[in-house]
């Protein structure tokens, strides 16, 4: 891992403005931000570790723990909200046995909510393992869940 971090660091100038880009690149590579990466960033960009941590927790894009094999994202933007996104998230939550923002290690599924994916005309929108699905009805959720947890 150290090697990977160093390769990424070597590609960036040691200026503070590349700190967020560094975090993006690490997460892209490792799927999350291990403590080691935060320390390396603090060193390299000469920013106090607490500030790096503050940054990582401020922005919703970053995570400090690995994700899951499967990921379901339910949009909670306004357009989706008025078309029943709340019930949709609740149904996913119920069937997957996991609260939004959390994961179920047994089933290997994480459930996330976001504020708008920019596909508002297709509301409500759900992203299942990177695949966008529009106009998802609550009655379709069991099928999506079955397909997801059934596949290896």
């Amino acid at each position: 891992m150290t090697e990977k971090l160093e390769t990424i660091l070597a590609s960036l100038p040691a200026e503070r403005r590349y700190l967020i880009l560094f975090l993006h690149l690490v997460q892209q590579e490792l799927d999350y931000l291990p403590e080691e990466a935060l320390r390396a960033a603090a060193d390299y960009f000469a920013v106090p570790p607490a500030e790096v941590y503050g940054l990582v927790t401020f922005y919703s894009a970053f995570r400090l723990k690995p994700g899951c094999r499967h990921e379901v994202t339910v949009c909670q933007g306004t357009a989706c909200h008025v078309r029943g996104a709340g019930e949709l998230a609740a149904e996913f939550s119920r069937l997957l046995g996991v609260r939004p923002g959390d994961k179920n290690p047994e089933k290997g599924v994480a459930l996330r909510t976001v504020n708008c994916l920019g596909c508002c005309a297709l509301a409500p929108v759900v992203v299942v393992d990177g695949e966008y699905q529009g106009r998802v009805q609550v009655s379709k959720v069991p099928e999506i869940v079955k397909k997801l947890t059934g596949k290896k």
Binding site: I20, S60, T78, A79
Partner: protein, 634 residues
């Protein structure tokens, strides 16, 4: 194709002329393949078309092109076939052989694949027939029909970089600013600040390092105009910024795109590379002594980073904390230097203004709002998508004529504009013209172009609670009025939706709103109460019914609705029993299912599964109060 460096204005002109004159296949099939198209299967459709075109040996006479967002998002995936502009909405791959045989081989329209209104039998086979395009003026969106967002050559064929060519052929920076100012262009990001004036202020800062920023954070949930532009025509944004750099005297600019838009980031990054390769970004552009470059920045997920001072902090590698203004970014921006920050759509308008002239631009619109505006027309309206209309059209024209009015069997109640900083305007105000001042006077704002239509099935209390929760989550927490005010209002509104509201709560909401408006640090806090204030002025009756009568007229607030089963209608199938996630339904002694009001979570699953011909599950838009369990007659 690797683009050779274009060294002079003459070379650029020659290349464009050559590209425009080149022999092209007589037919073009354009597949709309931006994010919403892809989410609806555009790539599978394109693959099927490609295969069938190959199988029929039509490669020489038909070009298949993946284009950006046509704005017709409701009808994804769709194709437009040129030169006739035949429009086939919601096209599935299975229909492709039919389409190819009829339209591409024989040049005939397939009526069965054409658009028709749900109620009528009349078909609308061509783009210009479509009823929802009639009132639109699509200066920006129309190019998305044919432009290949991945190829610079395609942009040049569409007249791309003509504005830059004109500027570098001898217009002074001051004159460029005069043109932009004369056009009346105002910022499309929300506040509507005159763009030319902003540029002039930056120009006047004199000989010092200056920066440009393109604000592509598009945080308003429910709005996606900027995504549409970034994914479909990244080049015009780049061209606008190069011209801006020339005008204000900046050598570097940043394009900040929210990370939730991966395709926009990808397309912009490819476009930047191509433009740089061609020498239109970099040192001594087109042989002039003007040098300018652009850097792409990927956001990291925070609504407040759309606020200009917060965005600047984010580019500098810090948390996106807004700061007090003044000083405004044109005075002290990125790294303390004068910085011009404009919205994506603002930048996209610039080349057009330079090329066609300010009076051409200003002939569209109202006295103080010029040109066109893209709106994201979504929610409970028949035709959802991106629409581009001249300023001054009324809300009614946009919602009823462009949007096709309510969904079947519903009534439109209001439209929400301006997102979390805006408000809800009731249907009685739909004759208001769309411009910055009118909406503001009515207690909302135009914002960046989000337009969410709601109908009688949407509860106003639920909606304002939604926005306040959003503001609470996204508040950066620096100032108390915003941090505490949003939390307080969420608590009050939650209480109301649970059915525990009191009449005083409405006054409390109003008081908290004014405090936040007066005392918050940045625009987020200052405007976060707008949804509440507009609801208090236009939907007070609905709010009062919640707190006085324990009633939710829309039947949404869970604490104010209840379900019962009418055993005189019940067929005893017990589908509801299986469907109930809370196990709140049991079979009573008489053999009929009964809902235990204490266990019931009011999810409505029983109502959904109850066979329509029986309709034995009854929903009341009032509190349960033990409402006759089993049957109301007992």
């Amino acid at each position: 194709m690797n683009q050779k460096r274009i060294r002079t204005v003459g070379e650029l002109r020659a290349l464009r002329t050559r590209l425009q004159a080149a022999q092209k296949p007589p037919r073009l099939v354009s597949v709309s393949a931006a994010s919403c198209g892809r989410a609806s299967g555009a790539m599978a459709l394109a693959a099927a078309l490609d295969e069938e075109i190959g199988r029929r040996g039509l490669e020489g006479s038909v070009e298949l092109r993946l284009t950006g967002c046509h704005g017709l998002c409701q009808f994804e995936p769709n194709v437009v076939i040129f030169p006739e502009k035949i429009f086939y909405p919601n096209l599935v791959p299975e229909k492709v052989p039919w389409l190819v045989e009829e339209t591409l081989v024989h040049g005939r329209i397939v009526p069965e694949l054409a658009f028709r209104e749900s109620s009528g039998s009349q078909i609308f086979p061509r783009l210009e027939d479509l009823p929802f395009l009639k009132k639109q003026v699509r200066w920006l969106l129309d190019r998305h029909l044919t432009l290949d967002p991945g190829r610079l050559e395609s942009y040049l064929e569409h007249g791309g970089f003509m504005a830059l060519e004109k500027v570098l052929s001898g217009i002074s920076p001051e004159e460029v600013i005069n043109l932009v100012q004369a056009s009346g262009l105002r910022g499309r990001g929300g506040a509507g600040f005159p763009t030319g004036l902003k540029w002039r202020l930056a120009r006047q800062a004199g000989q010092t390092e200056k920066y440009l920023i393109c604000n592509g954070d598009e945080g308003d949930p429910g709005a996606y105009m900027d995504r549409g532009l970034l994914e479909s025509n990244p080049f015009s944004i780049i061209e606008g910024m190069i011209i801006g750099g020339y005008a204000v005297g900046a050598a570097l600019g940043f394009i900040y795109i929210r990370q939730e838009y991966p395709l926009a980031i990808e397309r912009m990054s490819v476009a930047l590379e191509k433009v740089r390769e061609a020498g239109l970004l970099g040192k001594n552009i087109l042989g002039s002594d003007f040098s300018f470059d652009l850097e792409l920045i990927r956001g990291a997920g925070a609504f407040v980073s759309g606020e200009e001072t917060a965005l600047i902090a984010s580019i500098e590698g810090r948390r996106a904390f807004p700061r007090q203004r003044p000083p405004f970014p044109v005075v002290r921006g990125l790294w303390g230097q004068p910085t011009v920050i404009n919205n994506v759509e603002t930048w996209a308008n610039v080349p057009m203004i330079i090329e066609q002239g300010p009076s051409w631009f200003a002939r569209m619109g109202t006295a103080h709002s010029k040109g066109t505006k893209i709106f994201s027309l979504v929610g409970k309206v028949r035709y959802t998508g991106l629409v581009e209309v001249p300023f001054g059209l009324t809300l009614r024209e946009v919602i009823e004529e462009v949007g096709g009015g309510p969904e079947p069997g519903q009534r439109i109640k209001a439209v929400q504009t301006g997102g979390p900083s805006g408000g809800c305007l009731p249907a009685s105000l739909f004759d208001l013209p769309l411009d910055y001042e009118s909406l503001q006077k009515a207690g909302s704002i135009m914002g960046s172009g989000g337009m969410i239509v709601i109908d009688e099935a949407t509860c106003i209390v639920d909606l304002i609670l939604y926005f306040l929760r959003f503001a609470r989550e996204e508040s950066c927490g620096q100032c108390a009025p915003c941090r505490l005010g949003t939390a307080r209002m969420v608590r009050i509104l939650e209480k109301i939706t649970r059915g525990e509201g009191r009449p005083e709560d409405l006054e409390l909401l109003e008081k908290a709103s004014w405090t936040m408006r007066e005392a918050s640090l940045c625009g987020l806090g200052r405007t976060a109460a707008n949804p509440v204030l507009s609801a208090l002025s236009y939907f007070r009756d609905e709010l009062q019914r919640h707190v006085l009568d324990g009633e939710c007229p829309a039947g949404v607030c869970r604490g104010l609705i209840s379900y019962t089963i009418d055993k005189h209608r019940c067929g005893g199938c017990l589908l509801c029993l299986d469907a109930c996630p809370a196990e709140a339904i049991e079979v009573a002694d008489d053999g009929y299912p009964r809902i235990d009001q204490k266990l019931c979570t009011r999810c409505g699953a029983c109502l959904t599964v109850c066979p329509a011909d029986l309709s034995a599950v009854i929903k009341l838009n009032k509190k349960g109060a033990g409402a006759g369990e089993g049957s109301r007659e007992e």
